[in-house]
């Protein structure tokens, strides 16, 4: 080893050299890394020398070194070698003092500072680098934008808070994870009546109705919100006073940043008034619907443009004899027109046309039921206008006037019949006068006979009106005539079954009986002590109508009393066969007289000769 000391020394020197070289290399490597970091980092970095003024106070600083991000963060040109005052155009003593403070204390500082000239705000980390040479490092970022956003957010939150607190129609509150109220805003107080102090800490369920609470509605709502992110809450709630409040709102979960549900936000609008108005409208609509559905008149509404039915009340079915479905299925105006009498369709179309033009009107038309029945409908129609006064719909009330029209027509028929009857009676009297006068030369005799005949006709009339609409009892006719002649039983005797006579038959028969009776008083049995009158009748079945035969038999007549054939004979032997399609004969012998009157019993027992219903059918036919 001694033989080569130099080599040892050389080796030590070499090792030392190598050490120094590798240390330098390590330093270089470190500096390279540092430089790379310095140049590529996002934060701005500057090394500055802090300068004192003449009085020894920190007053300015000079940029010694900056990284590329510096320019981006400050917006200043490359500053190295220049002082802050030179760069900014005016001194920034505040920053000079901050830098100085870092040197004085030796402690790193972190501050947020605005720089007025640059109009930027910075987040600054200041470290003391070299107190000997007054050097500090400043690591900083431009936080102007972040600050602006924070401010905007704060302002926006403030605005929102103001809105939320002043929205009195909106109940807004929050609950905790157990649905206990923890934040009660003024709107909620205004809607529900509870003050913040009263209600915070209470379960939200107190706002629900007893029924909803019993049915677990409050829990269901928050569970739905938890599961689905929101839940509707549209229902009646309870005000502090106990009155009902209708809320249209929803429940949303409030989550922590980790996503756990920490509570619920409940926002709802008080729509009680609208709901009440809606309820009132619904009630009113229901009332009118009931009215329309119950009415025996049919109410209808059509679209003015298309003429399709928008509404047709059930009474339609009675009026038209068809189901509403049948008409609404096709629902065009033609389907409806087909239900009308063909003769009335043009009129109905004209009425619709006028109605469309805004002219209200009423008209009558016939409808034909499927069974062939014809009914009269009276339609009172009116236009329904929109806001602009245009005809939007047409509507009407249909009333069945068949019975009324029938009554009016019946009245007309009765009047016509009355006229006919009065004129006929006058014509008859005229004829009877003529016939009575031709056989009577004595005026007193004429008057007596004429009066008797008029009285007999009057008796028929009173019999007819005694039981209007029915026949006349034969026995009544005979008795009335006998009473008129002051004849009493047993001077006369009646025998026969009860028979009801048609008016026309009764009229003729009364006059015939009158002639027989007056003649009997004058010349025959009723005028003589031992005279007797037997009046018998019988009804026989025949091929057509039943046949009645009436036999008037006078006995005990003084044969000296002669009777010339006159009015009565003509009546019995000519008028009866002519008018009643019957037979009439008079047989005289010495002491007796037999009058035989037979005729078919006609049906039809009305006071009027015409049957009004039959007349109407003809008039309508």
């Amino acid at each position: 080893m001694a033989q080569v000391p130099t080599r040892q020394t050389d080796a030590a020197t070499a090792a030392d050299l190598i050490d120094r070289t590798s240390a330098q290399a390590a330093l270089r490597e470190s500096e390279r890394k540092y430089r790379f970091l310095f140049e590529s980092m996002d934060e701005a970095y500057a090394v500055v020398e802090v300068l004192k003024d003449d009085a020894g106070n920190w007053a300015d600083f000079r940029f010694l070194e900056v990284n590329p991000a510096f320019v981006a963060h400050t917006g200043m040109p490359y500053p190295v070698g220049k002082t802050a005052t030179e760069m900014l155009g005016s001194p920034n003593p505040r920053w000079a003092q901050l830098h100085g403070q870092a040197l004085d204390t030796g402690k790193p500082m972190r501050v947020e500072e605005s720089e007025g000239t640059l109009g930027r705000t910075f987040d600054l980390n200041i470290f003391s680098l070299d107190r000997e040479r007054n050097r500090v490092a400043v690591l900083f970022t431009d936080i102007t934008e972040r600050k602006r956003q924070e401010e905007a957010l704060r302002e926006s939150e403030e605005k929102l808070r103001l809105i939320v607190e002043s929205a009195r129609d909106y109940a807004i509150f929050t609950t905790d994870e157990n649905d206990v109220i923890d934040n009660w805003l003024p709107g909620a107080e205004s809607v529900f009546g509870w003050s913040k102090a009263e209600v915070e800490g209470q379960p939200a369920a107190i706002l629900y109705t007893e029924d909803d609470r019993a049915n677990g509605v409050p829990v269901q709502e928050v569970e739905t919100a938890r599961r689905e992110g929101k839940a509707p809450d549209v229902r009646w709630h309870v005000h502090k006073s106990g009155r009902m409040v209708f809320i249209e709102g929803q429940v949303v979960p409030l989550r922590s940043s980790e996503g756990d549900v920490r509570g619920f936000l409940k926002i709802g609008r008080d729509t009680t008034e609208g709901r009440m108005a809606e309820d009132a409208l619904r009630t009113s609509e229901e009332r009118f619907r009931q009215f329309a559905e119950a009415s025996l008149d049919s109410l209808w509404i059509r679209d003015a443009e298309t003429l399709v039915f928008e509404y047709l009340s059930p009474a339609f079915e009675q009026l038209y004899g068809v189901s509403r479905e049948q008409v609404l299925r096709a629902n065009d105006v033609k389907a409806w027109l087909e239900l009308l009498h063909p003769g009335d369709r043009d009129g109905a179309v004209a009425a619709l046309r006028e109605l469309r033009n805004g002219v209200p009107r009423s008209h009558e038309f016939r409808v034909i039921h499927p069974d062939g029945q014809v009914r009269w409908i009276h339609n009172t129609d009116f236009p329904l206008l929109d806001d602009q006064g245009k005809v939007q719909r047409i509507a009407g009330i249909a009333h069945d006037v068949t019975e009324r029209r029938r009554a009016v027509e019946l009245q007309g028929t009765l009047l016509a019949e009355l006229q006919h009857r009065v004129r006929n009676v006058l014509a008859m009297i005229r004829s009877v006068v003529r016939r009575t006068s031709s056989s009577k030369s004595d005026i007193e005799d004429f008057v007596e006979h004429f009066q008797g005949r008029i009285d007999a006709m009057a008796r028929t009339q009173s019999l007819l009106t005694r039981t209007p609409g029915r026949g006349v009892d034969l026995e009544d006719i005979i008795r009335d005539e006998m009473v008129a002649q002051a004849a009493q039983e047993p001077k006369f005797k009646l025998s026969g079954p009860p028979v009801s006579l048609a008016p026309q038959s009764a009229e003729v028969l009364t006059l015939a009986l009158h002639e027989l009776a007056t003649n009997s008083v004058k010349y025959g049995a009723l005028g003589q002590n031992d005279g007797r009158v037997a009046i018998g009748w019988d009804v026989q079945r025949a091929d057509g109508p039943d046949w009645i035969e009436i036999v008037w038999r006078e006995t005990g007549i003084d044969p000296r009393n002669e009777r010339a054939p006159g009015f009565g004979t003509d009546l019995i032997t000519n008028r009866v066969p002519y008018e009643l399609s019957g037979l009439g004969e008079l047989i005289f012998d010495d002491k007796s007289l037999t009058a035989r009157i037979g005729f078919p019993l006609q049906p039809g027992h009305g006071i009027l000769e015409a049957d009004p219903t039959r007349l109407m059918e003809r008039a309508n036919g």
Binding site: A427, E579, L608, L615
Partner: protein, 141 residues
């Protein structure tokens, strides 16, 4: 002696009331007419229309059972001129017969005679052009 106004004219009388029927017949007969009928009801009237030739008819509307126009219809079909002798107002007469003359009860003999005369005069004028198939009585204007 003056010419009878209805001389030779054959007239059917339809009237259900015996007295009126015989009155009308008597008046017409006195005016020179030959009578067909009187018929008290529609059935008899229709039988006579089929059986007997005549020139004109006097028809009541009510033949015992309310207004009826069966006879009027048959006469119209046969194109026989006729008039209504009735107590009914014109309103009860169906439109197709409303143009036929109508004399209103109670009427007098001259009413009936002049109405039948006018009827015949009118229809013989019309009949000349329309080719009436009536028998054409002796009566001429």
């Amino acid at each position: 002696m003056a010419e009878l106004p209805l001389k030779g004219l054959r007239v059917l009388v339809v009237e259900d009331q015996y007295y009126l029927a015989t009155d009308i017949c008597e008046w017409l007969r006195e005016a020179g007419a030959q009578l067909v009928g009187p018929a008290p009801n529609s059935r008899t009237a229709c039988e006579l229309i089929d059986a007997e030739p005549f020139d004109a008819a006097v028809v009541d509307i009510n033949l015992g059972m309310g207004p009826t126009f069966t006879v009027a219809q048959k006469l119209a079909e046969n194109e026989v001129p006729f008039l209504f002798a009735t107590g009914y107002d014109r309103s009860i007469i169906p439109a197709e017969y409303r143009d036929h003359p109508r004399i209103e009860k109670p009427f007098k003999g001259p009413d009936v005679i002049s109405a039948v005369e006018a009827l015949w005069r009118q229809s013989s004028n019309a009949g000349a052009s329309a080719g009436s198939k009536t028998t054409g009585g002796a009566f001429q204007t």
